[in-house]
Amino acid sequence: MITGAPLKFRIMELLSKKNMWNYEIVDALQDEYHHTSQMGRDNINYDCIEMVSAGFSKEIEWAIDTDGSKFDSKHPGRLLTKYELTSYGRDTLNELIAKVRNYTPDE
């Protein structure tokens, strides 16, 4: 596991293990990165969107959070997206793992 590295490194690492919905990624990382406020959660989501542009991940499934229970209760009706790491993302993650200061392989 990568520790103490920028947020996007960890998002890539999470996606390398399994495909995830954006709210699952947000829930998994908000405590680790002290992003528990709505603005913090939006920041994580924003990073997920940017990573698709960068070609590290791709959108594979969509749904609508009709009652806001998954992402933002104050703004129901948001688009939820499920992501998969691309092979380019996997290669980049391996390059980053070789460069980061703290990486502990999973047992």
Binding site: A5, P6, K8, F56, E61, A63, I64, L79, Y88
Partner: protein, 373 residues
């Protein structure tokens, strides 16, 4: 999706929703790049006014001249000091910006991951320093118009590098729009370059080349790092490293006997100079924040092309604050017509980019990298 709280809409409606979200993302990138152009244009106002504050750069010029340095060395040292002051104020403003966004933690994480992330911002800072210095030199030795045109050519360097190095996708429409916008900016300033005289043409042209090449390269390095770093933190680090570079340069110059720091205290002691420096910092910092924010959404080539509208914005703001002669060099038809023509061409170029198909740009990476994914 099996959870009852999440209802899967009918496919056509969901399709529309997804498309609308992709469009929104693309639109956000274009608006960020447009804001970059506006702030960059605004920057020319305090950027010009600072040269007219007698106790700061003109006084430095006098002191350097008194030490026996030549005219060229004198002008270049003033540019170096201005670059240092610009980098310091931008670093401070962006630190407050990151604090307000709650991103100091992410900034620290990006800083300490030197090999994986920070190193690209060192490169971006070095290139950015060269670009800012080049633009001051070009403006001093040729004309502000020439500096602006040279600066606009950075989009050309950025486009080539984003395709070759970052493997980003640029559509045929994107290429056409980029060339139209660069052409528009050249037309825009063609009137201001007529009959301009220079005390040292070679230095002016060298400054212009530095400006175009370094800004293009900066965007490329920044684009690479922004793939896996936060834009707000990235821009802070880029200015931090530029500041370090200028501090080293100024200390070396001071050690060589150049009185480079002799008037820097006026930035704090003279309220009018402080105000201009703060305005310089705000406009430049915001210009960079929006520039870096546009890259992850529309790519380096488009971000830089839309950002090149700063040329048009600078003319508008210079006209508003300093009058037509300072803005375009004269009020006759020979000066006014190229500006009107250039503005129309630039607007057409931005229209082509803003109306590009957002669906094809969900991922900005070229198929050669994505392997058809």
């Amino acid at each position: 999706m099996t959870d009852s709280t999440v209802e899967v809409a009918r496919p056509p409606e969901l399709d529309e929703f997804i498309k609308e979200n992709h469009k929104k993302k693309f639109r956000f990138g274009v608006i960020a790049a447009l804001l970059c152009a506006v702030y960059w244009g605004v920057w020319y106002v305090p950027g010009s006014a600072i040269w007219e504050m007698p106790d700061f750069l003109p006084a430095l010029g006098d002191k350097i001249a008194a030490e026996g340095f030549g005219t060229d060395a004198n002008a270049l040292m003033c540019c170096v000091l201005l670059c240092l002051v610009n980098a310091i104020i931008d670093t401070l403003i962006l630190f407050i910006w990151n604090g307000a966004l709650g991103k100091i933690g992410e900034l620290k994480r990006t800083f300490v991951e030197f090999k994986a992330a920070n190193i690209y911002f060192v490169y971006a800072g070095i290139c950015g320093a060269g670009a800012v210095f080049g633009t001051y030199v070009a403006a001093q030795y040729l004309s502000p118009g020439f500096a602006a045109v040279a600066g606009v050519l950075y989009a050309l360097v950025g486009t080539v590098m984003s395709v070759l190095y970052l493997h980003q996708k640029v559509t045929k429409r994107g290429y056409i729009a980029i060339f139209i916008m660069i052409g528009g900016a050249v037309v825009l300033f063609s009137g201001t370059m007529m009959g301009s005289e220079s005390p040292n043409m070679t230095l002016g042209i060298l400054g212009g080349v530095m400006c175009a090449v370094c800004w293009g390269l900066e965007g490329t390095f920044a684009g690479k790092a922004l793939d896996y770093c936060e834009p707000d933190c990235g821009i802070q680090l880029r200015f931090f490293w530029e500041m370090v570079l200028w501090i080293i340069a100024c200390v070396v110059l001071a050690a060589a006997g150049v009185p480079i720091f002799s008037t820097i205290s006026t930035v704090i002691t003279e309220p009018s100079i402080l105000l201009v420096v703060i305005l310089l910092g705000f406009s430049f910092a915001w210009c960079y924040v929006t520039w870096y924010k546009s890259f992850p959404f529309i790519g380096v080539a488009r971000g830089q092309a839309v950002g090149s509208l700063y040329a048009a914005c600078s003319i508008i703001f210079m006209f508003l604050f300093f009058g037509i002669d300072r803005a375009i060099g004269g009020s006759d038809m020979g000066h006014v017509l190229p500006v009107i023509g250039g503005l129309i061409i630039c607007l057409f170029g931005s229209y082509l980019i803003a109306t590009e198909d957002a669906e094809g740009l969900v991922s900005l990476k070229d198929d050669s990298v994505m392997g058809g994914e």
